[in-house]
Structures are given as C-alpha cells and as structure tokens.
C-alpha cells in the first residue's frame, strides 16, 4: 500500500511536470521546423506567462481570465520578437537564428526583471487550493487543469497542422521553403506564426504551472533547458516527439529524484540529454526524413 501509493504519487507528479515540459518542447519543435534553429528564448516565455498572469490578477479577479490574457499577450510578444529581431536578419541561417535567440532570451529576461520585478509571484489554482484524493493519492486540482489544458492544446495543434490550410502551409514551408514560395506561401509569415505558436505554448505552460511552483524572472533558462532536453529526447521537430519526450523527462525526474536523490533532480535532464546525444541523436520518435530522389 505504502509503496504503491508513493508510486502513484510520483506518477501524478511526473505527468504534471511532463505536461509542462511537453508544451515547452512543442515550442522548440515548432520553431525548429520552420527555421531549423533552436530558439533559446523559449524558456523566457514560460516565465512571462506566469508573471504576467500574476500581474493581471490585480486587475481581473478571475485567475482563468488573467491567465488567458497573459498567454495571448506573450504570444503577441513572441510575434513581435520575430518581427523585430529575426525577420531583419539578412541571411537567416539556422545557426544565426539560434545565436540571436540567445541574445533575445537575455534581453527578455532583463525586460521581465525590470518591468515585473525580481520577486517570485504566485496565484491560486484555477479551482482555488482544492486538493483531490484518489486511491490513496492526494494532489492539487491544478494538476488536473495542467494535464487537461495541455491535452486540449495538443489536440488543437494536431488539427491545426493536419487539417487547416494554414497549418499545412507551415508544414510545407518547413519541408521545402522554395517549393512553398512557388505555390504562393509567404515563407516569412510561416516563421512569424511559428514564433507566435511557440510563445503561446510556452506562456501556457508558465500560466498553468505557476500556482504549483511560483514564477520568478530567473527561471527561464531552467525551463528552456528542460524543454530543450525533452525536445531532444522525443525527436526534434516532431509534435508527438514533444509529448513523449516531455512526459518521459517529467517521469524520469519524478522517479529519479525520489529513488536516487532530490538533489539529483535537475541533473537528470542533463544526463538524459547527454545520453540521447550519444546513443540516439534523432530522439525517440525522430527518424530520417522521408526523401527519395
């Protein structure tokens, strides 16, 4: 009983942080698909999601409304970042965009610190501080919100990319830029949209996790690193890969910190990252592209 409930407790914790990592990894993957670059500003958008939600909660009394607005604002911030920092690049190679994104992340962090302060902020969960007990496991109702909202977002993304013409245009531009331009797709716009989606996903992660962890301006690098590791683990550029990588990393952290040592928690992502780079650089779900000439 004791061990099985501990097991379930860890499972719940792993899935909930795993969902957060999946959202961040999705942000990495969407931008990677459209530009071939790793966008290291991704983690800052997570922090912004949480901190702006907390700020807006002063104006709007509903946590849900505050979070929704915050996520939308951060998505707009993501769009602006692309427009002001990435678009003007004369020769936007993947390496250059990656380097510029590191600069962008540093600037974003300073911007957040100066405008929103250094103090960690938090707010109650979407269902207040309700806890749920189920089969000997007790967890916060917010955990369910995290898993549910992540799932909903992933389903929406799936339909966006598979069914909508705009989503297909993003995939087409990711597959072959020149060919996309040939059929009349504006490739710069697809890159812009991918930054918007990535910022939205990151901010959503931040807005829903903050009730459990607090948000502070300096967490961006950590979130970014975890999401990056999850993306690498699942397979860079793959939507299902983000989910698998995120959940796998969340579970590994939860169980690893319990059975090995909680001091080891943050090192697990690094260990996983190294292992995957050594053993299977294309990630769990990554595969060589389908190309035949």
């Amino acid at each position: 009983m004791q061990t099985s409930s501990a097991f379930l407790q860890l499972l719940v914790a792993g899935i909930s942080t795993g969902s957060i990592y999946a959202l961040i990894a999705l942000g990495f993957n969407v931008v990677f698909k459209s530009t071939g670059a790793m966008n290291f500003a991704q983690g800052e958008w997570v922090v912004m999601g949480g901190m702006i939600s907390a700020l807006l909660l002063g104006t709007f009394s509903s946590v849900g409304v505050a979070c929704l607005l915050a996520v939308l604002l951060v998505a707009i911030f993501g769009l602006l970042s692309e427009r002001l920092v990435i678009r003007p690049l004369r020769h936007p190679t993947a390496l250059l965009i990656t380097l510029v994104s590191i600069g962008l992340s540093i600037c974003t962090r300073s911007f957040v610190m100066l405008t929103l302060g250094k103090k960690p902020v938090g707010y109650p969960g979407f269902s207040g501080a309700t806890t749920i007990s189920l089969g000997g496991v007790t967890f916060q109702a917010q955990t369910l919100w995290i898993v549910g909202l992540t799932l909903a977002f992933l389903v929406i993304m799936h339909f966006f990319f598979e069914r909508s013409m705009l989503g297909k245009a993003l995939r087409a531009a990711a597959a072959d830029r020149e060919a996309a331009a040939i059929v009349g797709v504006r490739v710069e716009t697809t890159i812009l949209i991918s930054f918007g989606i990535a910022a939205f996903a990151g901010a959503l992660a931040g807005a829903i996790i903050t009730p459990l962890t607090l948000a502070s301006y300096d967490q961006g690098a950590m979130f970014g690193f975890k999401g990056f590791s999850a993306a690498m683990l699942g397979g860079v550029g793959s939507l299902p890969g983000a989910v698998v990588g995120g959940l796998a990393l969340g579970l590994l952290e939860a169980f690893g910190s319990f059975y090995i040592s909680s001091d080891f928690k943050d090192a697990i992502a690094f260990a996983v990252l190294l292992l995957i780079l050594f053993v299977r650089p294309s990630g769990l779900l990554g595969r060589a592209d389908v190309v035949k000439v």
């Binding site: 297909k168 059929v183 009349g184 000439v293």
Partner: protein
C-alpha cells in the same frame, strides 16, 4: 501571354543573365535550351517571381508584372521547379492542395475539388497513391505530382524546368505526352530543357541560351535541322 524584355539577373555580384528577351504567345509552347549553367533555371525563377531581376521587364497577359513578384505565382503563372521539389513528408493529396494554396487560403474556393479530380484524371497513378508521403514516390511519379501541383493553381502559363531530369526514357516520353496534351488544351508553356531533342519535338519555337544570353531563336523545325544546334545540343 509572357513578354520578357531586356532582362538581366544574377546572384550577389555575379551576373548570370544578360539582356534576355523572349516571348510566349497565348496557347503557344516554347522551349528554352541550353547547356549546364547557361542560366535556364535563373531565368525561370525570375519569371516566376522567385528572383528579382537587376534590370528589365516582365509582362504577363500584357500587364507589367515586374514589380509584382509575389502576385505572379498562384495567379496565372505556375512553376514546375527543377528537381521536382515536392513536399516530401506530406501526402500526395496534400501536395496538390498546396498547389491551390492561394485558392484555399484565406478563402476557400469550392472549385478546387474539381481541379483535383482533373489532375487525378491526368495522372491516375497519383490517385492510387494519394495518401502516401510524396517522398516515397518514384522519380517519375514525383514529376507528375510536381506538374499536378502546378496545375492546381489553374495557370494560363506553365513554366517547366527540366522535367526530364533524372528520369528513364520511357517515363520522359510519358511526361512529354502530358505536356503536349496540356498545350493542345490551350495552356501556354515555357519549357527549359537540356534534353533539346525532346524539348524541340514538343515546342513550336525554341530559344537557345548560352552563358546567360539568347544566342538563337527560331521555329523548332529550323533549330532541329541547324548544324550548329545539332552539334552543340543534340549530340549529333
């Protein structure tokens, strides 16, 4: 249909095309022959609006479209690019949909379904493989898909850049039969080819491009029997 006047273009500091002029009358099939690196692809990309010329004019259906580069593709002009360039991870059907992108986004044109049926009718093999990723098609099937994709925008001018590249002779025959059929149905065609033999047999007129300059223009029948053309481009 297409009027190119005194066009010059290049990449960075290297000029590739020098004062190129050419025209395609409505419903006409014209070919552009030239050796490796003559500038055929560069010219096609300029006409399609993918590359900005450094000088000269491009008019389509009598209206000057030199400045309106992005308006050309998907509106009357379609390009079947060199090397096919299908969207490898996307399905055959999705590739065709992308060909009609400008007609499906932002507003959905209901007549696209009819054009897709027309393309499947033209290339039954694409119908059979419509759910497969385009990257898994054979080279010939990919070429058919690239042509089908271009047709999905309902072009009046079809630009074909080396459709015979890397294909077996039998498949090349098949592709050219289709090109002739499209032309017979009224489509204006500009065809760039190293395979001068095939090109001259399906086009009414031919331009010879050498080192970025038009060095000859004549009826195909004249070019085919011209000794210098035979020696240089027909390997005879």
């Amino acid at each position: 249909m297409l009027e190119v006047n005194d066009l010059s273009a290049g990449y960075g500091n290297t000029q590739v095309l020098h004062h190129v002029s050419l025209h395609v009358a409505p419903g006409q099939s014209v070919c552009l022959i030239g050796a490796n690196g003559a500038g055929k692809t560069t010219l096609m990309r300029c006409i399609a609006g993918l590359l900005r010329p450094s000088a000269g004019r491009i008019a389509i259906s009598d209206s000057d479209m030199t400045a309106a580069a992005s308006a050309r593709l998907g509106f009357g002009v379609a390009l079947v690019p060199e090397g096919r360039r299908v969207f490898a991870p996307m399905s055959v059907r999705e590739n065709l949909e992308m060909g009609a992108f400008r007609r499906l986004w932002p507003r959905r044109d209901r007549t696209v379904a009819g054009d897709m049926a027309m393309v499947f009718d033209l290339f039954p093999r694409l119908w059979e493989r419509q759910k497969q990723p385009a990257g898994l098609l054979s080279g010939g099937e990919q070429q058919m898909l690239a042509i089908g994709r271009a047709l999905m925008s309902r072009p009046r001018l079809l630009l074909l850049d080396e459709p015979s590249m890397g294909l077996a002779p039998r498949v090349v025959q098949e592709i050219f039969v289709t090109i002739r059929r499209l032309n017979a149905e009224g489509m204006s065609i500009l065809l760039a080819e190293q395979n001068a033999n095939m090109a001259l047999r399906s086009a009414a007129r031919g331009y010879v491009l050498a080192e970025g300059e038009i060095v000859r223009v004549a009826e195909s029948s004249v070019l085919v029997s011209d000794p210098s053309v035979r020696a240089a481009y027909l390997g005879l």
